[in-house]
Every structure is written in structure tokens, then in C-alpha cells.
């Protein structure tokens, strides 16, 4: 079992974590036609926007209630109301994702009461779901805000679809996609699920909105992602597969609400972990073809082949990864996924630094993990062969003369963050080749 320590410092130096509202906004961006609305001062939105725009190299629609000193003292109701009305007029969103910040949480705006009274005053907005999530900046990190938003998304009532819905002939599976997954990862997961003849309902689906694609028109709301009409059909899912431990709460909410059973897959890289995912899909898809639950698992040929390719890649790369010491500073779910894969390749997790608490931290393949910052990483990384963290680790990696592999948020100095895929058999192979190539380059 891993020992978790929290640094005792009064100042975070070169922070590793980002704010929970940023995480919540990111999760909302995986819904189609949404505008995430920050209830805070305009800077809260501006900083989050700049970070996401630079990471994805995409236009990111985010809005603010633009709280001032005076409106903070008086309470934010008027600003929220005005912001929603302005957005409805300018962006015509299908959904609004409303999230709080440190400022409005400290002030203690009663959001339930505010939303209720806005609803009463504006019956013309009845068609518009407002998904609300409480995300004080001073509690947790990006992963926490993201998970809280996913929970709010599945907990919100979207009503029944208007008119006759064209039901997909395929059986539907809900995928809760944790913050450890990139848009490219989600794309791969959808492809795998579909290959099993199942219809994936992914929450959130970043692969349609921030994957980097050209649209025909200008968008002031998200151009893709999971749509309102899909959200209205959540109840139809046979099963929930939650990827990332932080998705547990959302999965549990779906179980309570619709009785949908779930399984948590804490990671989706590495032979064993991907096997488990495919085996799960095979069982679900076999269920639909049989009235009497006769089990006839079928794994698509394509993935059987990819599995053999991965095994070969494991053989080829183990020379370079074996015995290597790696220091990682990542959010809990991504840290768990990445360090286990390294461990399974014969590398050693030299040290782990993370952003926030999580039950998964106890199960890391190393003795100790620190909830801390990049200064902590700088202190404990010397002696390792590789550092894995976000772009902000560049200067410490340079200083220590240790190569850096970029993962997490933000990545400013690499292209293709929207399409990069590091999960599934194919993504695992990509990861192993990336890391192996770094060591080959160094002549190890």
C-alpha cells in the first residue's frame, strides 16, 4: 500500500494543480451546444479560457457572470440572471453549465434558491436545462471539479424527448469518461464500443467538441459532444462503464436514478486493463443477442490483431523501459494509469506527486506519493531517468537534465493534444513507442 503524504508548506511553488472550476468547465465542454458559465469575477473565466485555448488550440466558448465587489456583497442573482439571458440571446445554447468559483462560494450565494427564482421569473426558459455544479476553487483540483460536473450532468433531469424519438437499433452503454482521457482517447473508446455492435453514450464526449476540426460556421457554443436528446435517453443504457476512479460518484448516481449497474475501470492502458475492457464489452454485447442469456462472446477481429501487435510492441520496447526510474507528477487517475503501465513494463516508479486526494492513491505501484507541487517533484526527481508531467515541468526537467514526457493539463509546447490517443491496445503501443524513443535518442 502506498503512503500518502501532503506537503506541509505554506506556499505552493510552481503549482501542479489547476482549479476545480476549470475541470468542471472542461467536462461541460463534452456536451453539444453548451456554454459553460462561471459564476465569479471575469478573471476566473479568462484564465481558464486562455489555458484551454492554448492546450487544445481551439476556440473555447466560456462565459462569466462578471461579479464585481459590489455585486459580490449584494449577492449574485442579478448577474446570473443577466448572464443567462444574454447567452440565450447571443449563443442560443441547448444547455448551460453553471459552476461556482472561490469568490461566490466564499460569499455563500444560495444557488438553489437563485436558480429557482430565475426559473419562476422566466418560464420562457423552461426548455433550457441548466446543469449546476458547486466548485469552490479552494477545494480540490481539476479532477475533482470535472468529476463533480459529470455527476451533475447525470443527476440533472432532462425531461422526456419531445415527439417520437428514433431509437437506435443498437443496445446502449453509458461510458463515463474521466479527466484522464483526452479527446483522442474518447474517440478510440467510442470506436471500440461500436465495434462490439453497441451504441456508446459518452459523458462527457470531448471528441466531438475539442478534437480539432473545421466546421462550416462560427460557433459560440460547443459544436459537438453528447447532445441533449442523447442525455434524455440515459435511462435506456444497459450498463455503465466508468473510466477512472473519480467517475465512481457519477456511476453510483446513475445506479440510484435508473438502476443501471456499473463497473469502474480505473485505467485503460496496458494489456491486462484493455483485455478487461474488451471482455466486459463482449459480455454486454452477447447479452443483447440472446434472449436466454446464452453467452457467446465475440471479439472483433481487428482488436484480436491489435492485441497481438501490442504484445509484439511490449517485447520490442521492454529493452528500453526495463529498470528505468520514472518520476511522475500527474492528477490521481492519470498517475495511477500511467505508473501501472510503466511498472508492468519493468520500469520503476521513482516518485509520484499528485494534486488532490483520491482512494486510488493507496494502490499505486510505489511506496510513497506526495500531494504537492512541482517544487516537490524537483526535490525528489534527481536520479530518475524520465519525468512525466505537464508542460510546466519543462524548466525543472532542463535544470535536472532529465528528459520530459508531457501528459496532463496544460500542454502548451506540443501540437495535437486534441487527437493524441494513449488508451486501448493502439494507444498503449503509442505510449510505449514514445517512451522507448526517448531512451533510444538518449542512447540508453
Amino acid at each position: 500500500m502506498t503512503t500518502i503524504t501532503r506537503n506541509k508548506k505554506s506556499v505552493a511553488v510552481n503549482p501542479l494543480k489547476q482549479s476545480p472550476p476549470l475541470g468542471a468547465a472542461l467536462a461541460f465542454l463534452g456536451l453539444k451546444g453548451i456554454v459553460p458559465l462561471f459564476h465569479g469575477s471575469q478573471g476566473c473565466t479568462a484564465f481558464a479560457k486562455v489555458l484551454l485555448v492554448r492546450h487544445f488550440r481551439e476556440a473555447i466558448p466560456l462565459a462569466t457572470t462578471a461579479m464585481t465587489e459590489v455585486t459580490t456583497i449584494l449577492g449574485g442573482e442579478e448577474n446570473i440572471e443577466q448572464a443567462i439571458l444574454t447567452l440565450v440571446e447571443s449563443a442560443k445554447p441547448d444547455l448551460i453549465g453553471l459552476l461556482t468559483t472561490g469568490l461566490t462560494e466564499t460569499r455563500g450565494d444560495d444557488m438553489d434558491a437563485i436558480l429557482k427564482s430565475i426559473r419562476q421569473r422566466h418560464p420562457e426558459l423552461d426548455y433550457l436545462p441548466i446543469i449546476f455544479v458547486s466548485t469552490p476553487d479552494y477545494k480540490g483540483a481539476l479532477q475533482d471539479g470535472y468529476a463533480a460536473a459529470v455527476n451533475s450532468i447525470v443527476a440533472t433531469d432532462y425531461g422526456t424527448p419531445v415527439g417520437a424519438i428514433r431509437e437506435s437499433p443498437l443496445q446502449q452503454v453509458t461510458i463515463l469518461a474521466g479527466s484522464l482521457l483526452s479527446p483522442g482517447d474518447v474517440e478510440e473508446i467510442k470506436e471500440i464500443v461500436e465495434a462490439f455492435g453497441l451504441n456508446p453514450l459518452v459523458i462527457p464526449d470531448l471528441s466531438g467538441s475539442v478534437d480539432g476540426h473545421l466546421d462550416d460556421d462560427y460557433n459560440s457554443k460547443t459544436p459537438g459532444g453528447t447532445s441533449l436528446s442523447q442525455l434524455q435517453q440515459l435511462e435506456r443504457s444497459l450498463f455503465t462503464i466508468a473510466i477512472g476512479e473519480s467517475m465512481r460518484l457519477g456511476a453510483e448516481t446513475l445506479k440510484q436514478k435508473f438502476g443501471t449497474n456499473y463497473q469502474i475501470l480505473p485505467r485503460l492502458t496496458g494489456l491486462g486493463a484493455v483485455d478487461k475492457f474488451l471482455w466486459l464489452l463482449a459480455q454486454i454485447s452477447s447479452y443483447k443477442t440472446n434472449d436466454n442469456w446464452q453467452f457467446l462472446p465475440q471479439i472483433p477481429e481487428k482488436y484480436q490483431r491489435q492485441r497481438r501487435q501490442l504484445q509484439d510492441a511490449i517485447l520490442d520496447t521492454h529493452f528500453y523501459l526495463g529498470g528505468k526510474k520514472v518520476s511522475l507528477a500527474l492528477e490521481p487517475d492519470l498517475l495511477y494509469q500511467t505508473s501501472w503501465l510503466l511498472k508492468e513494463m519493468g520500469a520503476e516508479v521513482h516518485t509520484g506527486v499528485t494534486t488532490t486526494k483520491s482512494p486510488i492513491l493507496k494502490e499505486l505501484p510505489c511506496d510513497k506519493v506526495t500531494i504537492g507541487d512541482l517544487e516537490d517533484l524537483e526535490d525528489i526527481a534527481p536520479g530518475s531517468d524520465l519525468i512525466i508531467t505537464n508542460s510546466q515541468g519543462k524548466s525543472l526537467a532542463d535544470k535536472l537534465h532529465i528528459p520530459l514526457y508531457r501528459m496532463g493539463y496544460p500542454i502548451y509546447d506540443r501540437l495535437g493534444n486534441g487527437s493524441r490517443c494513449l488508451v486501448g491496445y493502439r494507444g498503449t503501443m503509442q505510449f510505449l513507442f514514445d517512451i522507448g524513443n526517448i531512451f533510444i535518442e538518449l542512447g540508453h
Partner: protein, 468 residues
């Protein structure tokens, strides 16, 4: 510096700012005091503005007293470059928790300052308040005062919580901190009659390095850079300069005016963009300093540089001639970049006047001509509409609008603080010309606009006869 309502009102009504002198003296211009609009606002906050103005001080530590959002989402992403120290690139924040909000964050802040001094020993620490720590009433000034005494290092409070206003107000609040705690606290080794300060130049993409050699060449000494590539020490003795040169910005205008009041240093407002402006800048400085030999040297350098420039620019001028651009940026840049573009023979068909003063607007009007469009306000949709209407070839704007243009398959050039190419001075104009040329004549535009074969209306299946 206590942050009072009166103080903020003073800064918003800064008499040195042209925004506050409306035509015919009929009331104040509302531009500065206007509140951001919920649901529509997209700009940064006062804390953002204060960071932009102060973080370029390279050897100081910048400590943000607040929850993780303020520093965690933004540290290390400023475009200001340093020729030496890198302390300014580090992110320091008290990263306050729920407990600090309940019991107050002052103790944590004090301990944090001590921690930074022990490990990094910077010549100074700037401590920024944020919305949450201002709301719970942490006494930033008191903590900084106690820490300054205890650690014998200047610990400077910057009272710039985001919710007091815009980025612009934050710039001015940063200026107040410099005036109250930094300027006038040390003496330079020596002074000369040719000492000037540059104010409001943040060395984005290393721009100041394009102009410093020019000053050196004509014999002007830059005593203090406020704040691009500055050391803390040089700002302390800025009060010994003979002239303040405000660059491309009304943002720190309060520094210019108050240094005139306190130390009798006159100030002028100049721009480094384009031949005309660079020439004017050098001439005005020489004339203000009032030394004939200096004025002579300036004329010689201008003659040399412009001759060299004409040769270097000739091929670009041919390629850029009559290309049309829409310019979307703030303040002085709306006309200074315009004159640079016109130096290259390009046409500005529309420009923003959103953050421009009356004086700026007059210059814009002259440069735009009768067909030009002045955009009083704008958002992404509006910009795209104007580009379509004017059949402009490209958009020149801040990084925020980069994807507005690219997603519409329109060439784009970044003109604001996140960019990586310096455009200042004579050398900068060549860089700008190169960038315009690259953007406009890239072979990619045809590809990203080209429809797929199956999207063309009358495509006939050519393979029809070859198939069995």
C-alpha cells in the same frame, strides 16, 4: 496602499488619461468606469492586469495570495522575456484552503513569505491579493509590513483583487504599488543627462532588445525599464531619470503623471511600431532632452536605419502591396500597427476603437480614410462579418481571436502579448513584413478551403468507364 473606493475612483478618473477628456469637456467618458457585462464579458480581471504589469520584473518573486485558480491556471504563461534572472517565471501561491477562509489566511501568507525568502532569497516579493482573500478581509498591507521588517527584504503588497475591475485598472493598481513602495528607494551608481525610463514596455517576445541598441547608438541611456526585462533594483532608482517614455499604453499613465508630480520628470507617449513612429519616438526624446548633438545623432541614425530598411523591405512591399487587413486590438496599437502596415503598402480596411482615446480615434480616422470601418465594439461574429464585407485578406488581432480567424480559414497574425515574434523598432518591421508575407502567401489556404471531391456539385464519376 489601502484599497479604498476613493483610490479606485481616482485611478479610473486618472487625469493623464485621454479617456477622461471628452470633446467639449462635457462630462467624463464612461469607458473606464463601465462594468463588465455578465454573459458577454471576455476580458481579464484586475489581478490579471496587475500581473501583466509586474511579473516582467525578472528577479522578484511574485506570490499570489488566494485559491489555486488565480495562480494555478495562469503561472508561467506570460510572454515577457528575461536576459538574466528567471525567478519571475516561477509560480508562488498560498493556495488557500477552506480552513484559511474560516480562520483567515494571514498566518499562512506570513509563513509563505518566510518560506520563499529561505529557499529563493529574492531581492523582493510582490504579494497579490485576490477576490477571496480580499473578501475575507486579510490585511495584506500589515502582513507585508511585518514581513519587510522581519526579513529585511521589500515585501510589496499589490491590492488587485479581480473583482474591483478590468485588466486596465489592474495595470494602474500595479503602478500604484511601484510608486508607493519601490520608486525612489535607491540611488543609481551614476546618472547622465541622457537617462530615460521606458514605462509600459513588457519585453514581450524580447521587443525591448530591438530598440535598446538604437538608444545606445544615439547616446540615450535607459535607466529603468518598467517593467520588461527589469531588475527590482533598477525600478527603485527610476526617479533619477530625466524623461519618462510611455510606450504603447495608457495602462501605467498614472506612473507617468505622478512621477512628474513627485519628481518633476516630464513624460511623453510614444510607440515603437513602424518607421514613422520609431522615427518620431527618437526625435521626441532627443528634443525633450534638448541636446543638439543628440538630435544630430538621432537624425544620422534615422537616415541610416531607414535607408537599410528600404532595401530590406523592398521585396516584401512588392508582395504585400494593397493586401487588405482587419485590425482588432486595443488602445494605441489600433493606430500604431496601422501606420506600420501602411509603411508596408498594406491597407487597413477596418480597425477597432474599443479601447482607444479621443486622440487615438482622431489618428485612426486620418489613417483609415473615408472607406475604412471603425469598429466601436466587436465580438468574434462581428469581426467575421466585417472581414466578409470588406473582403479582407487577413485578420491582425490578439491571440484570443486567433481561432476566430483560423476556424473561418482566414490568415491571421498575432499582435498581442502572447506572441513570439518581436515587432518593435526598425528590425521589428522587417519581422512583421516577413510574418505578413508568410501568413498571406502560405500554400495552405487553398487546401483548407477546398471542398472534397464529393462535395462538388457537378462532379462526374470519371472512373465509370474503367470499371467492369
Amino acid at each position: 496602499m489601502k484599497l479604498t473606493k476613493g483610490k479606485i475612483a481616482d485611478l479610473l478618473n486618472e487625469p493623464g488619461c485621454e479617456h477622461n477628456h471628452k470633446k467639449g469637456q462635457q462630462g467624463k467618458n464612461k469607458a473606464c468606469t463601465q462594468q463588465a457585462k455578465p454573459g458577454a464579458a471576455q476580458g481579464g480581471c484586475a489581478f490579471d492586469g496587475a500581473s501583466i504589469a509586474l511579473v516582467p520584473i525578472t528577479d522578484a518573486a511574485h506570490l499570489v495570495h488566494g485559491p489555486i485558480a488565480c495562480a494555478g491556471n495562469s503561472w508561467g504563461s506570460r510572454g515577457s522575456l528575461s536576459s538574466d534572472a528567471t525567478t519571475y517565471k516561477m509560480g508562488f501561491t498560498t493556495d488557500i484552503s477552506e480552513n484559511d477562509i474560516i480562520f483567515g489566511g494571514e498566518k499562512r501568507l506570513y509563513k509563505g513569505i518566510s518560506q520563499i525568502i529561505k529557499r529563493y532569497d529574492p531581492p523582493a516579493i510582490f504579494v497579490y491579493s485576490t477576490c477571496v482573500t480580499a473578501l475575507i478581509g486579510d490585511d495584506l498591507d500589515a502582513v507585508c509590513e511585518a514581513a519587510t521588517k522581519k526579513f529585511e527584504t521589500p515585501i510589496i503588497p499589490v491590492n488587485s483583487p479581480g473583482f474591483v475591475g478590468s485588466k486596465n485598472l489592474g495595470n494602474r493598481l500595479a503602478g500604484e504599488s511601484l510608486l508607493d513602495y519601490v520608486v525612489g528607494t535607491a540611488e543609481p551608481e551614476y546618472t547622465t543627462p541622457y537617462d530615460i525610463n521606458l514605462i509600459g514596455e513588457y519585453n514581450v517576445a524580447g521587443e525591448v532588445w530591438s530598440v535598446l541598441p538604437l538608444f545606445e547608438k544615439v547616446g540615450i541611456r535607459v535607466l529603468s525599464k518598467i517593467t520588461g526585462d527589469a531588475t527590482f533594483e533598477e525600478i527603485r532608482y527610476a526617479h533619477r531619470a530625466k524623461l519618462n517614455v510611455m510606450i504603447c499604453s495608457k495602462a501605467l499613465i498614472n506612473m507617468g503623471r505622478k512621477m512628474e508630480e513627485r519628481y518633476g520628470i516630464p513624460y511623453i507617449e510614444e510607440s515603437f511600431y513602424g518607421v514613422e513612429d520609431m522615427n518620431r519616438c527618437l526625435r521626441n526624446i532627443a528634443q525633450k532632452i534638448g541636446d543638439e548633438a543628440l538630435q544630430q545623432r538621432v537624425e544620422t541614425v534615422i537616415a541610416e536605419e531607414t535607408a537599410k530598411l528600404d532595401i530590406a523591405l523592398a521585396p516584401y512591399r512588392a508582395r504585400l502591396k494593397d493586401k487588405k487587413m482587419v485590425l482588432y486590438t486595443g488602445g494605441v496599437k489600433s493606430w500604431s500597427v496601422m501606420s506600420a502596415a501602411q509603411d508596408l503598402g498594406m491597407k487597413v480596411v477596418a480597425t477597432s476603437t474599443k479601447k482607444s482615446t479621443e486622440e487615438d480615434k482622431a489618428k485612426i480616422k486620418k489613417l483609415l480614410g473615408k472607406d475604412g470601418i471603425a469598429l466601436a465594439k466587436g465580438n468574434a461574429k462581428e469581426i467575421l462579418r466585417v472581414i466578409a464585407k470588406t473582403k479582407a485578406d487577413m485578420l491582425v488581432a490578439g491571440g484570443r481571436n486567433q481561432y476566430t480567424a483560423l476556424k473561418a480559414r482566414i490568415p491571421f497574425l498575432d499582435i498581442n502579448q502572447e506572441r513570439h515574434t518581436p515587432y518593435a523598432g526598425y528590425v521589428g518591421l522587417i519581422e512583421m513584413a516577413k510574418e505578413f508575407d508568410r501568413a498571406l502567401h502560405s500554400p495552405i489556404w487553398q487546401q483548407v478551403r477546398q471542398p472534397a471531391p464529393w462535395e462538388k456539385v457537378a462532379s462526374s464519376p470519371a472512373l465509370k468507364d474503367s470499371l467492369p
